[in-house]
């Protein structure tokens, strides 16, 4: 990371915004071989990741699962570790010139006033700083100083000064031990040459002060959901203790008010923020876990849990004791002066006005477009809609008005993490295709010049060299390193122990390598500043010393000793002695390891020729990978063939900026044309995948088609088997021609057929009821758009929509509001009182019990339209053949619902489209592109490298009991029936060591973590 970036190559890609989306794009592109410049306007990368420590629906963190490839650290750290990612914090994009493939981007670097490379995070500056400012998420609940540390996991880990509040008193400059602070730092500008630009600047939470009637900012016990998120977080302001800010008491009654700053035209935010309903459900569960006796009421308009498995999550949440979901509007919040309790004025559905008292109120704030969005849009020539979000097309959802610029995440529309991960993966593919692909793929490892060959130390008696290295005096100021070295020399097997000063510098490492060679040391212990970001340099140092990198042990004196016991040097020094002794004992047990690699076939198998499969195949072809696209039927297109565009020009113009309008049949024709011209895609029609064996890099699939059976080998597999409309079995469907599905209505509208003037639509047909409990996500929007199309043709038509919840998430809410404005009537019904459709001589009649009045309503209907759900095609046999799971409803079960929605635990297989869950066309396209990119990032490695902590088997000790096979989560342990011993498939092993633990004979040992090593380390300290 530098202030002046110049990477003079158009194979680079600029990613603007380093939140969950930006980091995802950056990591995938870097894996696929493209240099990435990762810019963020904040002083450190991470974005909203820092806010969350638990996410729905898993109620765990799991953020590391988004990192492609192997188990990994937090994505902020992984971005920092990746050699192809350049992190440029505290920087804005101010200009963009040139063409796709050859852009010049102007960057404006804000002054941080702290030099990150010098800052050692000692915090002395903040202790003397006299000025306070509100915390990033906590606001006034946890103030910080003018010189403050960005969130803990932000990179770079260094302080920053907020000059808007700084008084320039200079106290921090005086106390800084490393002269890291420069109050006269000036903004700078620089330029980068890139091939494509990805925008993922995220969102800005709604400023609750704009809804003054809720009293945020005046009443201490009114919090935003962002503040509350931190309060229930273990790493947050109160360490997961829920307290009232006014008196630090535990609240007994908490109210959540939904849609604060969403679906509210009074403040110019007509859209739905999509995430908040689930966010609140998570908060409800967390509160019930932390303080089970709390009474919770959630005030809402509609509950929009439309994502995969979200409906179940909501039902579970609602069923918790002491939890009430109340469908009513909160008009105002008032504080009772004595108790500081809060009185909520409510208006119920039937218009009844009520009051309820709570100890704590949480305002569930919506998403706004990110700060600086207008400036960014202007600088890049990107069209924004009325709300400040980027305008994209339904069938090119990653593109914006400026060619070569792509957008992902909440900047396109408010959205949840899985969608953000999907989109970020998708835009990575589009960017990679744009950037003139230099030579993506694994680069040859850099072997230091003149490095001697690795010495065979097998038969040598251990001679351990222990080197103590400091970094800017951080360790030496606490620990007496010379004293530790002196004690270390007395340990058995230690041949050398010395302090080398700055061991991380090039000279320091060369010095160590020289001493190791000269003194013929055969184990090295590096004690001091052993940053994991330097792992590759340490390995290089070992190679330069003529030793295998696995003969190195690290002692993290900085993190484990100097930082944690900074106030007691004597105790710290004693602890350091023991830790070093432990490492010496461990080093003696280390053995050389040569990682092997397995070949990777570049061809990809895409199963399913619908929108998802065709898009995935073309995306991979664009990136240079050969693809076999297998389709079971004799036509391509799948469900896309069934979709039509409705509505006239007026609607199209209105819907354009909301990403709601596009022509499915035109999109289909384009796809078919591109496929017919794409030499890298081989089409296999009327072909089924009968069996798949093998593994990542070398899947062997048995394909059965018109020409018989054939076996092919693939590097990766993408599952895009799709889904279909559920055919209704109720409401007289199939018995009366005047009862149709939404799709049939869509076709009637598109073909200009006569539509009766009284239409009744029934929502949730075959969704959200026993047997098919999930929400099908798309039906509410489809109903609204079709209703609008009917009204457009015949403004006098009477259209009534019978619904349970209207789930018009995101900008679809605008269409819902427009429909109400145009006179479409929305009537709610509740289970079990489903509407009744009867056919009589005078026409169709729909009866329903209107839940507010409790009265029966009878609606005459010339046409009844059923909003049917979606279900997956039956792919259980395929799932079994692939060895991947499906859920109870037949959808494929991804590895992690939040952070890894496109991958399976079994490496090299990916999922997209309706095979994953119900979704709209734009969401399907993004998912297909995302899956393709994840496959490409994997295949770009060129080979499957084996992890350094792989399990190995001593076959003489193995009794073939098979316990390891059961324990391995990755199918990396195999025991052939009747086989003499269990093997490790090294390419699949992730190196967790669990199989070594279950092995009763200790036949399996984990490289670098042998049981003997641990025993001796324990002996060394106890």
């Amino acid at each position: 990371m530098t202030d002046n970036v110049s990477i003079p190559t158009s194979t680079s890609i600029l990613v603007v915004g380093a939140g969950i989306g930006g980091m995802q794009s950056a990591l995938l592109l870097a894996e696929a071989g493209y240099p990435v410049v990762l810019v963020d306007s904040a002083p450190g990368i991470g974005g909203s990741l820092h806010l969350l420590d638990r996410t729905f629906p898993t109620d765990s963190c799991g953020i590391c699962y988004m990192v492609p490839g192997r188990p990994a650290y937090c994505p902020t750290i992984e971005c920092d570790l990746h050699p192809r990612i350049t992190i440029v914090p505290y920087t804005d994009v101010v200009g963009l010139e040139g063409e796709p493939g050859a852009f010049t981007v102007r960057l404006h670097h804000r002054p941080r006033y702290v030099i990150p490379e010098r800052c050692i995070l000692c915090g002395k500056c903040a202790r003397v700083c006299p000025v306070e400012r509100p915390g990033l998420y906590e606001g006034d609940l946890a103030k910080v100083r003018a010189i403050y540390r960005p969130p803990l996991r932000a990179i770079p880990p260094a302080y920053v000064i907020d000059m808007s509040v700084c008084t320039r008193c200079g106290k921090c400059v005086e106390v800084c031990p490393t002269e890291a602070i420069d109050l006269d730092m000036q903004p700078t500008e620089s330029q980068v040459q890139v091939g494509a630009v990805i925008l993922s600047p995220g969102f800005e939470p709604f400023d609750a002060r704009l809804k003054g009637e809720f009293g945020w900012g005046y009443y201490p016990n009114v919090l935003t959901s962002i503040q509350f998120e931190r309060m229930v977080s273990f790493a947050g302001s109160t360490g997961a203790h829920i307290v009232r800010p006014s008196d630090r008491e535990r609240p007994r009654r908490i109210a959540f008010i939904q849609c604060v700053g969403s679906r509210d035209m009074s403040i110019g935010r007509g859209y739905c923020s999509s995430v908040c309903c689930m966010h609140t459900a998570k908060h409800v569960r967390v509160v019930k876990a932390l303080a089970p006796n709390t009474e919770i009421t959630v005030f809402f308009m509609d509950i929009r849990t439309y994502g995969k498995d979200y409906e179940t999550y909501l039902e579970e949440t609602k069923a918790l004791p002491g939890v009430t979901y109340c469908r009513c509007m909160v008009s105002a919040v008032q504080e009772r002066p004595k108790t500081r309790n809060l009185l909520l004025k409510t208006v119920a559905e039937d218009g009844k006005v009520g009051e309820e008292e709570f100890d704590l109120v949480v305002l569930v704030v919506g998403f706004g477009s990110p700060l600086g969005a207008q400036a960014l849009g202007q600088a890049l020539g990107v069209e924004l809609n009325e709300y400040g979000f980027a305008v994209t097309d339904l069938f090119a959802p990653e593109r914006v008005s400026r060619a070569g610029v792509l957008v992902a995440g909440a900047f396109r529309e408010p959205k949840d993490i899985p969608e953000t991960v999907v989109e970020a993966s998708a835009v990575a593919a589009a960017a990679a295709a744009l950037a003139t692909a230099g030579a993506p793929g694994a680069e040859a490892p850099v072997v230091p010049e003149g490095a001697p060959a690795e010495r065979d130390v097998t038969w040598e008696w251990p001679r351990v060299g222990v080197f103590f290295c400091d970094h800017r005096g951080e360790i030496g100021e606490v620990i007496d390193l010379e004293a530790v070295a002196e004690r270390t020399r007395t340990l058995p097997n230690v041949a050398q122990a010395m302090v080398v000063g700055d061991g991380l510098s090039r000279q320091g490492m060369e010095e160590i390598a020289r001493i190791v060679r000269e003194e013929r040391l055969n184990r090295v212990v590096l004690a001091g500043y052993t940053d994991i970001r330097r792992a590759e340099s340490f390995a290089e140092m070992m190679r330069a010393a003529g030793l295998n990198p696995n003969l190195l042990e690290l002692v993290n004196l900085r993190g484990e000793v100097a930082g944690a016991h900074a106030r007691n040097g004597k105790i710290a020094t004693e602890k350091a002695k023991e830790l070093v002794a432990m490492a010496v004992a461990g080093a003696v047990r280390q053995e050389p390891f040569q990682p092997s690699a397995e070949p990777l076939n570049r061809r990809v198998l895409v199963i399913g020729g619908g929108l998802a499969g065709m898009t995935a195949a073309l995306t991979l072809a664009d990136l240079g990978y050969p693809v076999d696209l297998v389709e079971r039927t004799d036509t391509l297109g799948g469900q896309l063939r069934e979709l039509r565009t409705v509505g006239g020009n007026e609607w199209r113009e209105w819907a354009r900026t909301k990403g709601l309008s596009g022509d499915p049949q035109a999109a289909l024709i384009t796809l078919l044309e591109r496929l017919s011209q794409e030499p890298r895609v081989r089409l296999l029609m009327k072909t089924e995948v009968q069996g798949v064996s093998g593994r990542l890099g070398q899947f062997r699939a048995r394909l059965v088609g018109p020409k018989g059976e054939q076996e092919e080998t693939y590097g990766a597999v993408i599952v895009a088997t799709g889904g279909r409309e559920v055919l209704p079995t109720e409401y007289l469907y199939g018995q009366d021609p005047r009862v149709v599905t939404q799709r049939e209505l869509e076709k009637m509208l598109a073909e200009g057929k006569e539509i009766p003037s009284d239409v009744v639509m029934i929502q949730c047909v075959g969704s959200r009821e026993p047997g098919r409990p999930y929400c099908s996500r798309i039906c509410c929007t489809k109903a609204v758009i079709n209703a609008l199309a009917i009204k457009e043709r015949n403004p006098n038509a009477q259209v009534t929509v019978l619904y349970r919840e209207m789930r018009t998430y995101g900008f679809r809410e605008d269409a819902y509001r427009l429909a109400r404005e145009k006179g479409v009537v929305f009537l709610r019904y509740e289970l079990p009182d489903k509407p009744q459709v009867t056919a009589g001589p005078e026409g169709l009649r729909v009866r329903l019990v209107e839940p507010i009045a409790g009265e029966e309503v009878v609606l005459p209907a010339g046409l009844v339209v059923l909003s049917t759900g979606l279900e997956p095609n039956d792919s259980r046999a395929l799932a079994e053949a692939l060895g991947v799971p499906v859920d109870a409803h037949g959808f494929f079960r991804e590895e992690h619902p939040k952070m890894r929605p496109l991958d399976f635990t079994k490496r090299g297989i990916f999922v997209c489209g309706l095979a994953h869950s119900p979704r709209a066309a734009d969401e399907t396209i993004l998912m297909a592109r995302g899956a393709a990119m994840r496959a490409a990032a994997l295949l770009a490695q060129g080979q499957v490298e084996v992890v350094r902590t792989v399990a190995r088997v001593n076959i003489r000790l193995c009794s073939a009991c098979g316990l390891c096979v059961e324990a391995c989560p990755y199918e990396a342990r195999v025991l052939e029936p009747g086989g003499p011993y269990a093997e490790v498939i090294e390419a699949l092993c992730m190196g967790c060591g669990v199989c070594a633990t279950v092995c009763p004979n200790k036949a399996t040992q984990q490289v670098g973590y042998a049981a003997r090593r641990v025993y001796e380390m324990v002996d060394a300290v106890v």
């Binding site: 799991g62 360490g239 930082g563 016991h565 007691n568 990755y970 669990v994 641990v1014 324990v1018 300290v1021």
Partner: protein, 142 residues
């Protein structure tokens, strides 16, 4: 037994991804905690062999801390669940054998929970100070 200058020794087996990173964060963030813990970093709590814990106790460690990712967050799918099962079983066995199972603690600490790591070490040190030294110390030769 109260605090009479006795400094317990805690051996901690921490997973590489979450708890060790959290422990490092505690140090680099200068969060102060008692110096009684000796960390042995492993890739996953799923690879904490119960014999490691037994060995430490029989050697005379006053406490053993096993720290891993929160449920649902294991970087290897289910290693922490496996650890949880094993440690529960181990504690039961220790109890049956008349040994002190409360010297073994299993805690979930994420990579961003430096404070939680520091608090855990503080609490455990305090608890063991009150409990007194491991009676097995010097009783065994392993």
């Amino acid at each position: 037994m109260s605090d009479n200058g006795f400094e317990p020794k805690i051996v901690a087996f921490l997973c590489n991804w979450c708890t060790y990173t959290g422990a490092d964060l505690a140090g680099t963030s200068r969060i102060q905690y008692p110096p009684n813990v000796r960390i042995i970093r492993l890739m996953c709590t799923g690879s904490v062999d119960p014999t490691y814990v037994l060995k430490a106790l029989l050697d005379g460690a006053d406490g053993v801390l096993v720290g891993g990712c929160h449920p649902g967050d294991c970087h290897y799918q289910s290693g922490n669940y496996k650890a949880r099962r094993r440690i529960i079983a181990l504690k039961e066995i220790l109890k049956q054998a008349g040994l002190e199972e409360d010297r073994v603690w299993l805690r979930w600490i994420s990579a961003s929970e430096g404070q939680r790591f520091a608090d855990t070490v503080s609490q455990m040190t305090q608890y063991l100070k009150e409990k007194g030294p491991n009676p097995m110390k010097k009783e065994w030769a392993v």
